[in-house]
Point group: C2
Chain length 233, copies 2
């Protein structure tokens, strides 16, 4: 099998990612359609924080895999974005404010109280993938960010419309990701297309992205099982 | 065995580290006494660059071990110090300029040409220690920095006196470490004393520091074997 052209490779990544992206999941569709109960939305915020908390860890593992100071410098920005330049800043802090805005006790969310076992397993599997695979696969697994900016924009609109009990200021995390995820995805796609120049490595990158979509999907499966949609209260 | 007081624990770390620190190594003593040939000094610079190149990698592994954004923020600064905020900056860049100042071709040093196998083994063992051990042990292994500021000051004086053929501007790496290593060591000792509150964890921290001194020592052993001191040319 000959290597795909860079354009065809990027198109394959987009297709494989888009068709499996978690915006198709029933729980996610219910969220954006305004059909989640307050409890269900809270539990999504709470469980998703465990995923968020794994991001700087997996990004540090990616930094540790690179021999190139320029790549490390680029990727380090992601950790700085999540952890902030000082206390009280950064993506994790914004997510905890989202949790507060959704009526959850901040300390309990920060301690991962009530995180479902299957959510932990899926998120930990993501960290393990990044730890154990090649730098190329680890970076390719981040390419779900391709789809994030559009999703974040739609989410802000949907939440403001359907869940007005959440203070609009607490949606700052989603707002910050609209532009940030675009830049991050551009960095990552540039690296992946430059490194995956054989069909074998291109297939590895595609497989890693698919595995990542499975992680995000499994997170929502766990929520839907624990907090069924349209249940009679 | 009861836990040592914080003061006694720090004193033990200092003692165990100081007596094994590589400034006692014959090759290092010859370096500071002006007894290295040009070739020997060049090979020290060249081989030591492999050690330097492992630093941001092991520091990223340390960041990945922490669940605390405040700790990660603190430790990330070390990676930023080595890799720089942009191209042409940072500790690794300064070391490559040192290599050029010592008359070595920059590209060959950056490619690790001529790095001795035993130097690779020792430095890779350091990265493995950090990867496989607890966060406490990984941080404790950095505590050789206790002794670095004083050593860097003495090194600048010794090199300016004994090796005037090296441009003084290329000693910028050593100069930058005088103040930086002090701050880094203070951060690390604060963390280690806060975390190691049982005799068992204190002993683990001490063992990790000793292992690290063995890494630095082995690097110089390899150089001395390959480039014997006081050999008849």
């Amino acid at each position: 099998m000959t290597a795909l052209s860079p354009e065809a490779f990027v198109e394959r990544l987009r297709q494989e990612g888009a068709q499996r992206y978690h915006d198709h999941h029933p729980f996610h569709q219910a969220m954006h359609a305004g059909r989640l109960t307050r409890k269900q939305l809270q539990e999504w915020v709470r469980n998703r924080y465990y995923y968020q908390s794994r991001i700087p860890i997996k990004d540090a593992l990616i930094v540790a895999k690179s021999e190139d100071p320029a790549f490390r410098r680029m990727w380090l920005r992601r950790i700085r974005d999540q952890d902030g330049e000082q206390g009280g800043e950064g993506g994790l802090e914004k997510w905890l404010r989202l949790a507060e805005g959704a009526g959850l006790p901040r300390a309990a969310v920060a301690r991962f109280d009530g995180v479902l076992p299957a959510v932990r397993f899926a998120c930990d599997a993501y960290v393990d993938l990044v730890r154990s695979r090649s730098l190329l696969e680890a970076v390719a697994s981040s390419l779900t960010e391709f789809f994030a900016p559009d999703l974040m924009s739609r989410r802000i609109d949907a939440w403001e419309q359907h869940y007005p009990w959440i203070d609009g200021a607490s949606l700052a995390y989603f707002r910050s990701r609209v532009t940030r995820a675009k830049l991050d995805a551009d960095d990552a796609i540039g690296f992946v297309t430059a490194m995956a120049t054989t069909r074998e490595t291109q297939d590895q990158a595609i497989a890693a992205l698919i595995r990542k979509t499975e992680v995000l999907w499994a997170l929502l499966d766990a929520l839907q099982l624990a907090y069924p949609l349209d249940a009679i209260p």
